[in-house]
């Protein structure tokens, strides 16, 4: 049995190109993503209330049902792609799931009418799109230097050492999808109403960052 950084794997599925494994570490992250996706599915969205200071006046923001439906759909897609990123055993699949999290994050707030939020989403989208450059380049360098994209193979230790630059590019790519210092645009996106859905933006990038730490420590 191979020993992973995240503990001894409970289960490894190797089927063609598909490679999925669960270690105690990844299964924890997977369950977290699953829980939040279920929460997104069953919960009722908030209604934002603005209170005018110095008076009793307040106003609620009305959001149409179709807009909420779209946002829920995007939040569920974001949860699913985070789950995929948690359990996949293939470096390139991981980068694809990460890029998809970036797209769905933009999608969650894209239907919001507020120009402030739109602008933040656009700026975040630019960063996320440019982050796919180091992300995919890192994965390609993994394949070029070791000849394999399989995390299980990397862990067996029979492959050559992964160059530091490949790992660095992978981490930079993940950081670009929404960790500090690129978190600023994302924080502005949270002004969008619709509480359980916007939280998915934050949670997904946190989970992906936790996963990439395991990946760079593998080979």
């Amino acid at each position: 049995m191979i020993e992973f950084i995240g503990g001894t794997p409970y289960y490894i599925l190797e089927f063609g190109d598909e490679l999925v494994y669960f270690t105690p570490y990844t299964i924890t992250l997977f369950l977290l993503a699953l829980t939040f996706t279920v929460l997104v599915i069953i919960s009722r969205p908030e209604k934002q209330v603005d209170i005018a200071f110095g008076g009793d006046a307040y106003r609620t923001k009305e959001i149409s049902l179709t807009e909420m439906r779209f946002r829920r759909y995007m939040a569920i897609a974001c949860g699913l792609s985070s789950m995929g990123a948690m359990v996949t055993g293939d470096i390139f699949n991981f980068t694809l799931f990460t890029a998809m999290v970036g797209i769905t994050n933009v999608g969650i707030v894209a239907a919001v009418k507020s120009p402030h939020v739109q602008n933040a989403a656009y700026q975040y989208g630019l960063v996320a799109l440019s982050a796919t450059v180091p992300l995919f380049a890192g994965a390609a360098l993994y394949a070029a230097s070791t000849g394999s994209l399989s995390m299980v193979e990397l862990m067996r230790g029979s492959l050559p050492q992964v160059p530091l630059i490949a790992k660095a590019l992978l981490v930079i790519g993940v950081i670009g999808e929404g960790m500090a210092p690129f978190y600023a645009a994302k924080a502005e996106m949270f002004r969008a109403p619709g509480a359980p859905y916007v939280i998915m933006c934050s949670l997904s990038s946190l989970l992906i960052f936790l996963r990439v730490i395991e990946i760079v420590m593998l080979g």
Binding site: F92, V106, A110, G125, A140, L141
Partner: protein, 201 residues
């Protein structure tokens, strides 16, 4: 061999740095999006440098993700800038609209594309259709084309299942995949060339 790879990597990385430099200097939102698309191409370069079958398989998802993000961002840009009416028509040149030349060129491209088959063939054939639609200012309900694209994609996926579960029938799977992908890419490209975001009922 290894030296060639290093050299190629150097060239791609330098072009990436140039792209990102331009991106850092540019302040207009739309131009930044366009420059980003340019910088994105270096990614495909890095992947393609692997020079194996795997690289070919990885370029496609990389490209798709890039295009998906680009489409999403341009949609946000449109909402952000409150651009409502975007009348886009085909090439409004009388000679091209009346003459037979576009037809002939398109037919050559489509036939050559069908002969090539696979992704490349789909790309070439799709280009032919795009050129034809553009030159004629084609206005038609494209739902049928969208459906054809979906069905050919399903054929492609079905072929992959044959590869996985019944590998002894690999030849039929190969043919299905080749036909599916050539149709899919052709249709997809012609849709990209003709759907300007107008509403269909």
């Amino acid at each position: 061999m290894w030296d060639q790879y290093n050299l190629g990597l150097l060239v791609v990385l330098i072009s990436g740095v140039i792209g990102f430099l331009a991106l850092a200097l540019e302040t207009d939102d739309l131009h930044r999006l366009l420059l980003l698309d340019l910088a994105e191409i270096t990614t495909l370069g890095v992947i393609a440098l692997l020079g194996t079958d795997l690289a070919e398989a990885l370029v496609l998802p990389g490209l798709t993700v890039g295009i998906a993000e680009l489409l999403a961002l341009s949609q946000i840009y449109i909402t952000k800038e409150q651009l409502k009416e975007r009348p886009v028509r085909g090439l409004n040149i009388e000679v091209i609209q009346k003459a037979d030349a576009p037809m002939i060129i398109s037919v050559i491209l489509v036939v050559y594309g069908l002969l090539l088959s696979g992704f490349t063939g789909g790309g070439v054939a799709g280009l032919g259709l795009v050129f034809y639609f553009m030159s004629r200012g084609y206005k038609e309900n494209l739902n049928m084309l969208e459906m054809a694209s979906g069905i050919s994609w399903a054929i492609w996926i079905f072929a992959f299942f044959i590869f996985m579960f019944l590998p002894q029938y690999w030849f039929i799977a190969l043919m299905l995949a080749a036909v599916g992908i050539v149709l899919k890419v052709t249709v997809k490209m012609s849709l990209v060339g003709t759907m300007w975001g107008e509403k269909h009922d």
